[in-house]
Symmetry: C2
Subunit: 153 residues, 2 copies
């Protein structure tokens, strides 16, 4: 039995938020834009997510420990013959768990869930500086076919 066999992926609850936010902040980019000591905005956002049937925020847990997270959004659309796509955001693996296959398990969960929701396409954007992440997604079969544009409001 490997370490990963003891791991489960389940829907996140409000009680998981401190651990999720700590992971979001423990990251070169996240460190500059998260506030792990002030959970109020995260709790408010989580209520919106929990109410939305097309939103899936999950955590990977080992025993009582939250060790990974991602958000999957299911988006119907007209293009590509009315294809439904899914969008992955906020992928994080706890620092103690990196390099052991947990990221792959999380993305595989997202792909399986997308298939169950009849999606024809899974997509995500990754900051141009995250070159290790880019290799990771390409190993999993994703194609870096697009440029991702953002506008802060």
């Amino acid at each position: 039995m490997t370490d990963l066999d003891e791991m489960a992926i389940r829907p996140a609850t409000e009680e998981d938020l401190p651990a999720i936010v700590a992971m979001l902040a423990d990251d070169p980019l996240g460190a500059t834009r998260e506030s792990p000591d002030g959970l109020t905005p995260y709790i408010a956002a989580f209520k919106h997510l929990a109410d939305a049937p097309h939103q899936h925020v999950v955590v990977a847990v080992r025993g009582d420990h939250v060790v990974g997270t991602l958000q999957l959004t299911v988006v119907p659309g007209l293009s590509r013959k009315g294809a439904t796509r899914s969008i992955i955001e906020g992928v994080r693996v706890h620092a103690d768990e990196r390099g052991r296959g947990l990221g792959t398990r999380l993305i595989q969960w997202a792909v399986d869930r997308s298939l169950r929701e009849n999606c024809q396409l899974v997509q995500l954007t990754s900051d141009a500086t995250r070159t290790d992440a880019h290799r990771f997604y390409e190993r999993l079969g994703f194609t870096a076919s697009h440029v991702g544009f953002k506008l802060s409001l």
Copy 2:
């Protein structure tokens, strides 16, 4: 009074689908993946979109003519202190209308709507081959900060 003064942007209806799909297909990439002669899958997809409060499919109309379209999806999230973001997909301007500022008007509509929905970020991906589109988005203030990955299911 300019041409654009006579144009309006409004929510799409099912009656707009033939014109929307014709625009999706009249495109180097869309030509290979759309089916303007078979509207059934688009009608099914439109019903999902019309029912979803966080989905906004709009058309630009001049008189009785549909001359542009885009889809805006509002996505709450945990990262960036619980930021809500919006995602733009399926931007199309009718071939007869290109170069007259309609694309800018459509994106400006999406930005305004995103502000009204309390989004902190607007994002989109553009195929790496659409270099004219990339310059267009950069002129509008977007930053090409990310790599967009896709996985067909």
